[in-house]
Point group: C2
């Protein structure tokens, strides 16, 4: 199944593995997706420039196919939160794991974007995708200068139009079903939770660049549906998180495989920015008391050591268990086998429709 | 495009006009959908037994094709709300329209279901669909005795399974995009907001009866997508609300045609039960002050005279403007022309996919 977008991307299948900055997208996962005919992405938002180089080199060693890299667009944290209060709120959880709470200095906001961008531009990726906003014009120009394709993420039509105006070659339409961080950057997070089946055709009608559908797509039925809605390709995250190659704790994979479709919610508890994940103790308790949560990336920095320690100890109640609403369709297998299965299911679905 | 479900329903097209208890589904609308090859539904939840008979007779006079009727499953209002406080909260709005606030006695909860059911069973409809829960076993038995098909509405897999166990012949999967009242009857309203693209295949995998997809479907692309997800038919509400035959105030139609995809939200302000509608002044103000809102059907009864007067005067700021998230795809035309257009678009979409 080739579309205009697969021609542009240079891959066989309209199947993109979503970048997963939490560590899910190991070089083995990314390369396996590329080698199977899809397109893998490195979620580089939490990587240092050196790590970006190393990670991309590892992907290039495993595949000669094009791959993508993803960054968070630079955002200003806005308000001036009470860091000491935020640390005090988190201290009991650190204590429960036998750790000291983080120092206030760990929440200092550093603009990592320029150095990440420089590394991303040099890493050999064919596509630079991004979320949380627009890239600065010089970043757009630099990517185009190197013939990298640009893909921005939209949760509303206004965002899609702003991205198109900024010069991106394609738009990722992120439906409300999607796991992980919401891309919303204009307007209200709650209002911008539009389901994929409504969002994709409305964005498609509004823009003239190709659209990649994301959110709630887990199998070949979902892929065929997204193509019917007018998408040129789909982006799947949760479906790849339970693959053998995914670099997340086994306790996290296990939770994905055993949680029902209504077991996720959108929360700011872990990172300070709205994101969809499986409901767990940390999410519930942090939301419950109503204390202010510092904005991203501050809360993210303050909870990171806790999440790292929890991952090492298999304590899923303290992990950000990002996942979308298609949970019951998650399968445990290799990424290459998953891509082949998705392609076969997609073909069979379309054939059955046309009969 | 015939599916197993169109054979069962006895219509040509897998296109169902959603029952719209607010008055959108006039006999002219219902009959036009049936005559064009789809299936129209009378939303009878707010009708008296006499009105059900009259409305169905009017439909039968306009079409010889099968049509459906929809009721709200009986629900207990649970808590014992402070009716006087609720009326005091609404009084300024009544005053603004020059009306006296409703008497506390108007909020008395009467079990209208048994008489409505008796009328629905006699009205000549081929299908009885329902929402808000399960039907009592005697209602299921009575419908089956008359060879009426039963369709229950689910927002989660647990609800779909409960409906299947209760004996329904088909399940309406209501995605989070859907306009109007949420069908949720087990568990939490917020958690049960699953997008259609994720909900339909997960329900389809869990049950053995056919599934009708609803929520965010507005055109042939959405219909083809829903069929790809495994649905046997689709149910569209908002798409029919802007049809010439729809019996809603013109101010309401106008708001649908001019509102963006992120202009709706789920609210309890109008009826006491979660429902998706276009954000307006009444919704915002009632939600804002955080005062308790009595449960359905009490709040619904207390706001009804206000909404009726507002409809007569074209005051959209006091109307419950139920609508789904596909708003930008709404079109003003006759219902018969819409059904023909939907069928043509669906065919073209499937043909393009298979090419």
């Amino acid at each position: 199944m080739r579309t205009n977008l697969t021609h542009l991307l240079g891959c066989e299948l309209p199947i993109i593995q979503a970048p997963m900055a939490g560590g899910g997208d190991t070089p083995e996962l990314v390369a396996a997706v590329c080698n199977a005919g899809g397109m893998g992405f490195i979620g580089a938002a939490y990587l240092t420039p050196e790590q970006i180089g190393t990670r991309a080199a590892a992907v290039r060693a495993l595949t000669s196919k094009p791959f993508g890299i993803n960054l968070f667009a630079p955002t200003a944290p806005g308000s001036n939160p009470d860091i000491d209060a935020a640390i005090a709120r988190l201290a009991p959880y650190y204590m429960e794991l036998g750790l000291s709470p983080p120092a206030p200095s760990s929440a200092a906001v550093v603009d990592v974007f320029p150095a990440q961008l420089a590394a991303a531009l040099e890493c050999g990726a064919a596509v630079l995708s991004f979320t949380f906003g627009l890239l600065p014009p010089n970043a757009i120009a630099a990517a185009k200068h190197r013939s990298m394709l640009l893909a921005g993420t939209a949760t509303t039509i206004a965002e899609a139009l702003a991205l198109q105006d900024s010069g991106v070659e394609m738009i990722i339409a992120q439906g409300s079903e999607a796991g992980g961080h919401r891309a919303t950057f204009l307007g209200d997070f709650a209002a911008a939770q539009i389901g994929t089946i409504a969002l994709v055709p409305q964005i498609g009608d509004a823009v003239h660049v190709p659209v990649i559908a994301s959110g709630g797509i887990m199998d070949g039925r979902g892929i065929a549906a997204a193509l019917a809605l007018g998408a040129g390709a789909v982006q799947l995250g949760t479906a790849f998180l339970t693959c053998n190659e995914a670099g997340i704790p086994d306790a996290y994979k296990q939770r994905i495989l055993e949680t029902a479709e209504d077991g996720t919610r959108v929360t700011r508890a872990f990172s300070g920015r709205a994101a969809r994940g499986i409901v767990n103790r940390f999410m519930l308790e942090i939301e419950e008391d109503g204390a202010p949560i510092p904005p991203f990336p501050i809360q993210n920095a303050l909870t990171r050591p806790l999440r790292t320690a929890a991952a090492q100890r298999g304590r899923a109640e303290f992990l950000s268990l990002w996942a979308g609403q298609g949970l019951r369709l998650a399968r445990r297998q290799s990424a290459g086998a998953l891509v082949a299965r998705l392609a076969a299911e997609m073909g069979a679905t379309i054939e059955a429709l046309a009969r």
